[in-house]
Subunit: 275 residues, 2 copies
């Protein structure tokens, strides 16, 4: 009976959306117990409450031995503001948990992975219920929490793997939150960025990814129109920068800011499956 | 009689704008000889010609002993794609030059400063002629090229100083182009970015600026409206992240993507003035 604590280290979700997710879980995954921390619905400026409020809620969820998993409610922006203090204040109860989310939640997933705390997992979040076809995304994460493994990203192999939003991983580089990614396959995806910004992020990111096993590109969606065409596409950009840094470009990945976003347990999926 | 070569490592400018700048220079700074490299007007996708074309033009300008300065025509995006190869192929003639520009040209200025090649200078660019009041910006750079020093950013002091666009410097961090900035005052400015993106960039940048003498914030202009207020402003963001990393926040700086953008010779302004 997996017990799952939900908190919002970035931006808030609504009580109405939480109720839909709770009802879906109850109807289809009765063994999964969802506990929405009330902080999920707080709002202060851009964020789901102040840094202190978001940090406290995360620590309550992660350090409570009654929970088996912490599920991040939504991305947006804000997790990087609390991630360093968050991992520093985790105790032994935090070790034995899964942490699920993606996009801005990647700051926490990355920091947890760096510190070898728990099992970070790139996975859909409760707020994905708002997407077209979002039930499938939420169902995929709930299924994973319930022990199913059919939602795993199909390219996962013998290599340890991580998945990140492109900007999130680019911003992590060189910070005290950045995990060591030597010999890892690194999956990245992006949304709502111009192609010149994608190119610029790859310039930065690939300079930091020496020693990885290879890179895969998830979906780069909702690219805004620029005043002129960039002259290249996201895959060509990724290939170009990987080639400049002798990083193996391994092809595409089935992740993105959409309902089809698949699950990537950080590290070895096989090891994760065996647990 | 300063002879100035103009090339475009990022995006193109028009021949009409170049003619206006040339006329202004001829009328008001007859001692300054401007040579627009025809590459300034090339176009390929997003860029002022392919990487090869932009690189070749820069090298022709920088490695020609007939020129005293290289003036970058315009920012946009693209200099990071050629900067590493560019500095590697500079010869002795490139040493004895000033390099003027800002914004995306910062990738080249940073790489030149790292390699101690020539005298990189944050300064208005020819394409600034398009701005409201842009003649004043162009005049400021021409005056500087002609030996005047009244266009210098007023806070410059005994500390070596650099000035960068915020994203540009954030993307330089950890790359083979990043200059060593220990004991420097670092000036940053930004344009057309959401405040959450400014916050995210400061998260990243301040993690890389340990050991600097302090940070000053130039103008953060044309911030797009978000779906909700961020809850803080650019100065508070800069102060917050500087405090988290024990970086001295020194106040504002008179730089930005506007006609008032002042001049910042990289390194010691006093030394530069003495030349």
């Amino acid at each position: 009976m997996p017990r799952v604590a939900i908190c919002a280290p970035s931006t808030p979700m609504t009580r109405a959306d939480a109720a839909i997710v709770a009802a879906l879980a109850e109807a289809e995954f009765p063994a999964v117990e969802l506990h929405f921390h009330p902080q999920c619905f707080e709002s202060e400026g851009h964020f789901a409450g102040s840094d202190e409020v978001r940090l406290a809620a995360f620590l309550e969820c992660a350090n409570d031995p009654a929970f088996d998993a912490v599920w991040f409610a939504r991305g947006g922006y804000g997790a990087c503001r609390i991630a360093e203090e968050a991992v520093a204040k985790l105790d032994h109860a935090a070790q034995d948990k899964q942490y699920l989310g993606y996009s801005d939640a990647g700051y926490l997933l990355g920091a947890l992975y760096r510190e070898k705390i728990g099992r970070p997992v790139h996975a859909p979040m409760p707020n994905d219920i708002r997407r077209v076809g979002g039930e499938a995304a939420v169902r995929r994460a709930l299924g994973y929490l319930n022990g199913a493994r059919e939602g795993l990203e199909p390219s996962l192999d013998r290599h340890p793997t991580v998945a990140f939003n492109l900007i999130t991983l680019a911003m992590l580089c060189g910070t005290r939150l950045m995990p060591r990614l030597a010999n890892h396959v690194v999956l990245v995806e992006e949304v709502s960025e111009h192609l010149y910004a994608i190119d610029r992020l790859f310039f930065h990111l690939t300079a930091h990814l020496g020693g990885i096993a290879g890179l895969r590109l998830g979906r780069v969606s909702d690219v805004p129109e620029n005043d002129r065409p960039f002259g290249s596409d996201a895959e060509a950009i990724a290939r170009d920068w990987c080639a400049r840094h002798a990083i193996a470009y391994l092809g595409d990945a089935d992740i993105g800011h959409d309902a089809d976003n698949k699950i990537v347990p950080f590290g070895l999926a096989g090891r994760e499956q065996g647990q």
